[in-house]
């Protein structure tokens, strides 16, 4: 068969074949690092194998309704032989995506149903847009003068975020920093009372469900310690996974757990008024989907200049870790002795 005839037969067969493919679904976008599911549904389609070609940032995680031993993976190409399909007409898919240098990439997944002699029976593709948040520092002054009474910084560190994805951000001081970022005393006290109230509210639940004590203790540990390093992010991630598992495993316990937390929070409200709670909420959200962890954290300043060494720990809604951003050393001078929220040293863009 010459090439032209081969081409014509491909087109003809493709037209006949396209209808039996009922649906190919791949979500249009995903956060880099997120799993990308999908499926193909077809009927009465005689094919020899299905070729799936993945973009660079994706790889196979799991295929469903196939005999795994009959699936070949060659780099980013997956070959699913017809004989590998357990129940004809359905292929379930789960791909992994990974974080890449470019925070906004468009990937194309190609699906080719192949017949005898490698004739393409049907070729379709789906585009998936993979994005992630990215933060970069702009101008960083060598010296910042702050007025703690007004809560104002006369110069600020420029922090610029791209348009995509939510950025969770923890700002901390390096160990060697002369000025340390710390929690205000009022919040330390509030947190102490909150934990006490939560433990009291949970006491009965703990008695009834002793095997879930670790789950509650992990929650308390997250509240007390906050998110200080990458290890804490891992704990947070585990906590999210545990929440999902236990919700399915024992709904009754989960309802009691949530109720105990709600009661604990309500009892603690007299230590943190409703207006103050709202204000802290507003202050924790910065421009372009930046969520600050512990926005209330402060530094102590005075007229004598001291060096501040800041580190920024970004994460995203998958609670994945990113490289820590080190801010260059800054001399901080206060117009008077006092405290200022560390977030006020930044200009968010």
């Amino acid at each position: 068969m010459n090439n032209y005839a081969k081409y014509i037969s491909c087109v003809w067969i493709s037209l006949l074949i396209i209808l039996p493919i009922k649906s190919i679904y791949i979500p249009p976008y995903a956060l880099q690092g997120e799993d990308v599911p999908g499926h193909i549904i077809w009927s009465s389609l005689e094919f020899k194998y299905l070729k799936i070609e993945l973009p660079e940032a994706m790889s196979k995680k799991q295929l469903y309704n196939v005999r795994a031993e009959m699936v070949e993976t060659l780099g980013n190409t997956i070959i699913v032989r017809n004989a590998a399909i357990e129940v004809d007409g359905y292929l379930g898919m789960l791909f992994s995506s990974r974080k890449v240098e470019n925070p906004a990439v468009k990937g194309r997944i190609q699906f080719s149903f192949m017949g005898e002699n490698d004739i393409i029976l049907s070729k379709q593709d789906r585009e998936v847009y993979l994005f992630r948040p990215k933060l970069k520092l702009g101008e960083t002054p060598r010296e910042i003068k702050v007025d703690p009474a007004k809560g104002f910084a006369y110069d600020r560190i420029e922090a610029e975020k791209n348009d995509e994805g939510t950025l969770l951000l923890k700002i901390r001081s390096a160990r060697s920093s002369e000025i340390q970022v710390r929690t205000p005393n009022s919040m330390v006290e509030y947190r102490r009372r909150l934990v006490k109230n939560l433990k009291e509210e949970y006491a009965d639940v703990r008695g009834k469900y002793p095997h879930y004590s670790n789950f509650f203790d992990k929650y308390i540990s997250i509240l007390e310690k906050g998110w200080r390093n990458q290890e804490d992010l891992k704990t947070l991630k585990e906590f999210v996974a545990d929440t999902h598992r236990i919700t399915l495993e024992n709904r009754e316990f989960m309802e009691k757990f949530v109720m105990a937390l709600l009661n604990g929070y309500w009892r603690s409200q007299r230590f943190l008024s409703l207006p103050e709670t709202l204000l802290r909420y507003i202050e924790s959200v910065k421009h372009k989907k930046i969520w600050l962890a512990r926005p209330e954290n402060i530094i102590t300043v005075g007229p004598k200049p001291r060096i501040l060494k800041l580190e920024m720990m970004p994460s995203d809604l998958l609670l994945d870790t990113y490289d820590t951003i080190k801010v260059r050393d800054i001399r901080i001078i206060g117009t008077e002795a006092g405290e200022i929220e560390v977030a006020k040293l930044f200009e968010w863009k």
């Binding site: 956060l31 359905y90 379930g92 709202l278 204000l279 507003i282 809604l317």
Partner: protein, 318 residues
């Protein structure tokens, strides 16, 4: 060959599949397969996710000639077993065949009248532990929309369609749950007027002030900014908080078929500390159905952010 091999694997004690599941339906399947006095003609299972319950229907033929036990024990924590005749007196309920015993239910084959050959067994049971859902269905939802989009994708797919097709004539998982964390913080923070935020900051400064002169100055500033607000700040904040009540919040999401909206509650408590009262995300639960003919399903949740923005703005305007 393949079908038989898979059946054995499902029924073998301690097999991979048995360890994975806590589904009473699997146990019922095993008991019926072993009961030589019955020949199972068809099996149907329906799992209702929100109710944590299942129904197992089996059409059985009596094997009167078999040298089998005349009693079949279901040592399970089932809610109810009902039996209907499919024979001459069609759909007559045969309650006296079922006896509740200390460890479950017992079915008395010897009490069945001779003219009845076919029966329909309906076994209803509670599923205390739904974690087996993770082993049979893969559910995924978008962590967040891209850019300015307000749509979250949702996807469900059966992991092992063949094992259900081999065992059941009909199998369905009703109302598979999906939790989408809808980020609402932008609308909340951008819709609260600046003068209101300024008022809150002044209140904070007043509470923290120690010097008499400063207290007097801040008090004047607070009462001046209070006049601008119009209403009682506490009641405005309470009204704002009310929007996160599930009955209110459902107005701000739209779920496309074959998914449907089920519930919503404040989400992301662990990230929000200490501001759990005002959530950055709302956890919205949607549901869909999967069965042997529909092994996969995709849907969309649209967050009506403009509507929420306008609702919050209205609170502060009034």
């Amino acid at each position: 060959m393949e079908v038989n091999a898979r059946r054995v694997s499902c029924m073998t004690k301690g097999s991979k599949n048995e360890k994975k599941t806590n589904d009473i339906g699997e146990e019922i399947y095993r008991i019926l397969e072993k009961a030589r006095a019955l020949q199972v003609e068809s099996r149907e299972v329906s799992i209702k996710a929100p109710e944590n319950s299942g129904t197992f229907n089996a059409a059985v033929k009596l094997n009167r000639g078999a040298s089998a036990s005349r009693k079949i024990l279901f040592p399970l924590d089932v809610e109810r077993i009902t039996i209907h005749s499919l024979g001459p007196s069609k759909f007559a309920q045969l309650d006296d065949l079922v006896e509740k015993v200390s460890n479950g239910f017992q079915l008395h084959i010897n009490k069945i009248s001779k003219d009845v050959e076919d029966l329909l067994l309906t076994i209803e049971y509670k599923i205390q532990d739904m974690s087996f859902l993770d082993n049979i269905v893969q559910t995924d939802v978008a962590a967040e929309p891209s850019g300015e989009s307000d749509s979250y994708w949702m996807h469900a797919q059966l992991k092992d369609l063949k094992s259900f097709m081999d065992r059941y004539d009909r199998w369905e998982l009703l109302e598979t749950p999906f939790n989408v964390d809808v980020a609402i913080e932008s609308e909340v923070t951008s819709s609260i007027p600046r003068y209101f935020v300024r008022h809150l900051r002044l209140l904070r400064q007043l509470i923290g002030a120690r010097e008499r002169g400063r207290i007097a100055k801040l008090s004047m500033m607070v009462s001046s900014s209070r006049r601008k607000i119009g209403g009682d700040p506490h009641s405005l904040i309470s009204s704002l908080e009310g929007l996160f009540d599930p009955t209110q919040f459902k107005r701000f999401v739209e779920v496309s078929k074959p998914f449907k909206y089920s519930d919503s509650k404040k989400g992301g408590e662990y990230l929000d500390f200490p501001t759990g009262i005002f959530p950055k995300t709302m956890k919205v639960t949607s549901r869909t159905k999967l069965d042997l003919k529909t092994p996969a399903s995709e849907g969309r949740l649209v967050y009506k952010k403009r509507t929420l923005y306008e609702e919050i703005s209205k609170i502060f305007e009034s």
